[in-house]
């Protein structure tokens, strides 16, 4: 497996009007590491995720990937980075309703110019890996919530990114399905060597992730690794 670059943020600040959504956050994500971000509503979890992924520009601080600054890149470069180095899973799958499970999983590759045959084969491989054999031709409306999320995971992983960002991927699922989906995400990411940054409300789910970063009012107030509490 090729070595993956590390993702770091230093002194990250983001303001909406006069209110700080993030203020001076430092965070390092080592290659292949899985991390949960927790915190109360409005604490800046989504903002941090979007800043790290280069979706939102920062007001202060810098984001680096493998030592290269990425926050100062132009939108074209950043979106190229998101397309190649990152994968995304959102709360409600956000699958394209007209496309089948396998087509949804293949879509990013197809949009990036991959051929129909290869992209579809790769997508089917990931769906099988995520336990969706037999559902390849189903439309999103014909999948359960957990299955739809696993299609979204396949879509996020199919192009072999370095980091997967997931914003409440289990938020719309019941506890049991949520747990299964989280496990599927962590296993699949581990299998491909990708790091995972997952935002969740659920302390139990966060417990299944080796490292937990807790946010409050835009600041990190705890960074827990394998049970040990490291003060920020």
């Amino acid at each position: 497996m090729p070595t993956r670059p590390a993702l770091s943020g230093h002194g990250l600040s983001k303001r909406y009007g006069t209110q700080y959504a993030l203020s001076g956050v430092d965070i390092d994500i080592t290659p292949g590491e899985a991390m949960a971000i927790v915190g109360p509503s409005g604490s800046g979890k989504s903002t941090l995720l979007h800043v790290l992924a280069g979706i939102l520009p920062v007001d202060d601080g810098e984001v680096t990937l493998g030592g290269t600054r990425i926050d100062s890149l132009g939108e074209t470069k950043r979106s190229e980075l998101r397309r190649t180095e990152f994968g995304f899973v959102f709360q409600s799958g956000m699958l394209v309703g007209e496309l089948s499970a396998e087509e949804n999983a293949a879509l990013p590759m197809l949009l990036a110019g991959a051929g129909r045959k290869e992209a579809m084969a790769e997508a089917r491989r990931w769906l099988e890996h995520l336990g969706l054999t037999g559902k390849e031709r189903n439309r999103p409306g014909e999948l359960s919530g957990g299955q739809a999320q696993r299609v979204a995971i396949a879509r996020a992983l199919a192009h072999r990114p370095s980091v997967i960002f997931a914003d409440e991927p289990t938020g719309a699922l019941d506890t049991r399905t949520g747990g299964e989906t989280m496990t599927a995400l962590l296993d699949a990411a581990a299998g491909s060597g990708a790091a995972v940054v997952v935002v969740t409300h659920d302390r139990d789910l966060a417990a299944s992730v080796p490292r937990t970063v807790s946010l409050r009012d835009g600041r990190i107030d705890a960074d827990t690794r394998a049970g040990a509490v490291v003060p920020a």
Binding site: S46, S79, E98
Partner: protein, 738 residues
Amino acid sequence: MNSFQLALRVLRTDGRTRVSAILIAVGVAVATALVLLLVSLPGATETRADRSAWQQYGEPSEDGASLELVASEDVAPDGREIQRVDVAALADPSRIDLPPGIDSLPGPGEALLSPELADAVDHTPGSQLGERFGANAGVLGDDALAYPEQLVALVGHAPEDMPSTAMPQDGFSPAGRGADPMLGLLAGVGVVVLTVPSMALVASSARLIAARRERRLAAFRLAGATPRQVIGMVTAETAIAAAGGALLGWAVSPLLRQAATTVPWDGGTWQASDFVLGAVPTVAIVVVVPLLVVLAAALGLRRVLSAPLGAAGGHTPKPLRWWRLVPLPVSGVLFAYLATTASSQVEATLLLVSMAMVIGSLTLAGPWITAAIGGLFVRRWRRPSALLAGRRLRDDPRGAYRATAGVVLAVFTGSMALTVLPSIEGQAGALREYTDGVLYVNADHGSLQRIAADTNDALARYGQDERAVTIGDAFLGDENALARVVDCDAAEQLLVVDMRGACEGAPGVYTPYPDVSRDELTVSAEFGQPGTSLPAAVPVRPMTTTGELAPEAIVDPAVLPADFTPNTGTVAVTSTPANVDVVRTALVSAAGGLPVQSRQARLDGQVSQLDDLQRVTVIGLLAASVLGGCSAAIAAAGSVLDRRRTFGALMAAGTPVRVLARALRAEAALPALVATVGAGVAGTLVGIGLFTMVDDGAKVLTPWLAAPVVLGIGVALIASSVCTPALRRVQAEPLADE
């Protein structure tokens, strides 16, 4: 809060609902303005016809005739048609009722000219135009003209100078020929072909907020609103937009009317007042159009209300049934049959009904065909855009077809018309009776010599070498074969015959039937009357005919019995393109109102009517395409906004706007392009088919046929142009669940 207040509040606060309402209003406004104009068309032609009724023959009156009148058509040097009325007062001119726009009856040797004709006379040498009419004694007012730029001459004579064919009548004809049935038919077609795209525009605008509205409705229903209340709310929203649109359409309709006055029909443009519609039909249209829109909105809600809460797409659809295709060929054949046979008013109405049936069956077959095309894309895709486009067509073929239905209909009708029209034009022709360039006047024998002599005086005065010749009519033998009485050299020059050198010999009878029996050589001046025998010594020589209306024999006047005079005949004179107007002036001024004819003039008349039709068709197509393009664009924007979260997520995941926009552009453009080009090809084929049934003459495929394809590409471009801006808007929004 009642549903009306609630709707107003939503319109005030929700941007997207407001945009949709404005677009609905615009669509309704366009539809209303178009219907107001189209419905006024038959009345407009009637108004025109009434104004110019005096230019036509009226009821003959033997006893109480106050005037004698000859109506004829003449051609100006620039090729425009001149309506000429020669009149002689039989009673005290001050006692004759004059139509509006005519101040006084011209005396003998005087003429009243329409402003445009007077202007032409002022700017043309008298020998080419002015001397056809006599002394200018005033102008005809606009109220006496079909259209402001009509060329009309009212020429006065003494009663004894009028030709014997003049109609004695009691004053001028008061009432016109009524509405132009052709324009009435076109107006009917136009109402259908242009209001359907306007309604498609309304429908796509409504769709723009469908997703959001469904969510809102679900929320309302969960909060315990009854279906009645929900329908009331949405209906109020649409009603506000539709009523505003109808009023707007009414307000702008004078502008449209003004624009319509510049479109020539049947020779000229219009007066603005021609298109004025009565208060009752105006109010009816302004009320009925928005009412239909509101009704459609309320009906469309049934689906939403019966659907399970929160069910949002993403299912494999059931395929449509094949029987949807059946009515199309059936109604098509019926339409084609009626189109070829319809001659009466009833049949013309049936024709319109059958056209409505064709449109109805298109609405059935269209979605099936749309789904089939979608299936083709789904099977064959290489790029995700084709897959997306195909899936959308297949998933909601009814909706996809509805969005393009307007354009499909217009392009289908337009291509059909554009195929049939030039093919008819290719057919246009006047049978050949005289050689090209010959001008002629038919008259009774008593006038022939005088007309010829006056013509030749004028020709000599104008320094022309041409001379008019008289040609008598005679009937040969028991068969009453038409013979022209004229000498051999003149026959060769004027008539469509080839004398094959026979003019060298002594005068005789010339015929293409060399073995004609001598017994047949009797001449009669009147069809069916027993004839007088020609002397046995008269030589019979061969000739060949070179035109459709060639005589069956030429009889040299020298061989006729001394007491034989034809009853009727023709004064004919050759002309060249250089002196045709001068020759025409000489002949017209001598003919005293009898029509001066030529093959060229007849051809020009036919072409101008076809030009009218072609022009109206292209204008209709353009209007429909712009409307269709707008509704396709709105539909495209709506479909992007409906999927904003998905696209937002894709862009967040690094898909560049450019790539996504390209896919969405293709998704929007492909159906529009396929639909328009398909409809164009189908229309052309049906047109060719229709025309083949009428006549298997040459089909003229003109460049105009490319018009629907060009328009289709235009529609597709308009439709796809909104994708990038819509996506940028989505991208600018924060990435969040709604």
